[in-house]
Amino acid sequence: MKKIILDVDTGIDDALAISYAVHSPALEVLGITTTFGNITVEEATRNTVQILELLGYSQIPVYAGAKRPLFRELKEKAKLFHGENGLGNIELPPPQTPVQKQEASAFMIEQARRHPGKLTIVTVGSMTNLAKAIRDEPEMTALVERVVVMGGAVTVPGNRTPVAEANICADPEAAELVFQSGIPVTMVGLDVTMQTLLTREHLALWREKGTDVSRLFADMCEFYMNAYAQVGNVRGCGLHDPLAVGVVIDPTFVTAVPMHVSVDTSGGLSDARTIGDRRKHPAAAANVDVCLEVDHERFVEHFLQNVF
């Protein structure tokens, strides 16, 4: 079993990723850390606890993390995609399980020291917690086996601006710190996640299945899909965060190309763009494995069979 920490800004596709991860026999989820991004960190923490309780996995500890970006002001949350409460305005029972006292980045450092070379950190929101952990403990770059990041877009358009993806937009300096730190990174960006679509047919199957969990997830994802349709993606919604978990479960779902990636932090037109050097003779050595292709049929099938 692979030991993972899942770093989330729960969010609808984060909820799917949590469910997929806790149900996977290949993964041992040591804890879930929360951050801002789709929503505030307080909402992300609440939603994470609620989702774990809904799934019957409230024994997995939850650690609250960064409230705001390393250097910038907190941006507005992504209400269009995730609703006012972050879960497509689907109401879940109030959370019962207490949140851990330890801070998210401290938990990351503690676990990396406890399991040297054996810990995978999966970030599916802003990368602030991991950036703080690396800043506070530079040894993280050697202790952590791999970081799998849902974020960025190298060969395809962004989803927040023409060139930038939402998780990188949430804290571009944090992303740049992580990418340049030397920690092994796999980037699961829009290059691949926009090819892995959940469709309305899938939701119909979840409704047919008729469990509380499957119906609630169908309702949440319907909200998410309607938002997707408003920005011109009518075929379904991207399985962004679940694919990052999928890549840990089975790296052969994707083809990753090592390349030098830097993050634009100019604050201008290209802010938060993940710039991959795809030239024949790149100017700098590779620092990120960028996923460029995905076996979407095999992944989506695996996801649907294991998500709950």
């Binding site: 060969t155 358009p157 023409p162 830097s262 100019s266 201008g268 037109l269 030239r279």
Partner: protein, 245 residues
């Protein structure tokens, strides 16, 4: 009588424009009216250009150094109002200056073909920026905003060509020239385009809003794809190189 299309050529640095110049001189449809040298210290480029012009019996053609380039552009646009095709193979500095000198300039051209930028393909100066845009991004931004009858020919258009034959910048210049002479071989689409003038990392990068519903940038005609066969055939004749296949 067969009316030739009038063309003013703006080169980049060096001699990469020579094969494209030969294409223009060899075309029965084109009457070259002048050449602007778009970069500094152009002695070698000018010498070679003069030789090519002489052998084509065109040694009387108007040539302008970069510092007189904008003036020549303004003068010729007036002289051949509504008829002139402007082809730029280098940085857009002189065209931007010309737009500044004559506020009505944008209305006076028949077409403006700009070789520059990289949209889906990597850049050739930075990972995302192409040399002509990178050399003067502010000029490029001004040109994009000017409402010129523009056709942008980025590196994307010649990506497939480079698989077929060697030729570097000269091949890109030939493709832009072919798009000017034979508009029908250039596939056009309208994209929303901006140029980053501010960022250190992204300076000079052309940004196209390729999202499902584009919102950012100025509507610009772009040629992302050009018919390979005619370009390879003509480029081989003027560049003296062979097909890779």
């Amino acid at each position: 009588m067969h009316t030739k299309k009038k063309m003013l050529l703006v080169t980049g640095e060096g001699t990469d424009h020579i094969p494209a110049l030969r294409l223009a001189l060899g075309s029965p449809d084109i009457e070259l009216t002048g050449i602007v040298f778009g970069g500094p210290s152009q002695t070698e480029a000018m010498n070679q250009t003069r030789q090519v012009l002489e052998s084509a019996g065109q040694s009387g053609l108007l040539l302008a150094q970069a510092d007189q380039g904008a003036e020549l552009i303004v003068r010729q646009a007036d002289l051949h109002r509504g008829e002139l095709i402007l082809v730029t193979l280098g940085p857009l500095t002189e065209l931007a200056k010309a737009l500044h000198m004559d506020k009505e300039l944008a209305k006076k051209f028949a077409a403006v073909i700009v070789k520059g930028g990289a949209i889906r393909v990597p850049g050739n100066v930075t990972p995302i920026a192409e040399a002509n845009m990178h050399a003067d991004p502010e000029a490029a931004a001004l040109v994009l905003a000017s409402k010129l009858p523009l056709l942008l020919v980025p590196l994307d258009a010649t990506y497939a060509l480079h698989m077929r034959m060697d030729g570097g910048n000269s091949l890109d210049a030939c493709a832009a020239m072919m798009a000017a002479i034979h508009p029908e071989i250039a596939e056009r689409q309208t994209l929303k385009i901006s140029v980053d003038c501010q960022s250190t990392l992204s300076r000079g990068a052309l940004i196209a809003d390729l999202r499902a519903i584009p919102r950012v940038g100025i509507d610009t005609e772009v040629c992302l794809d050009i018919q390979t066969e005619p370009v390879v055939k003509r480029a081989m004749e003027v560049m003296g190189t062979g097909d890779k296949q």
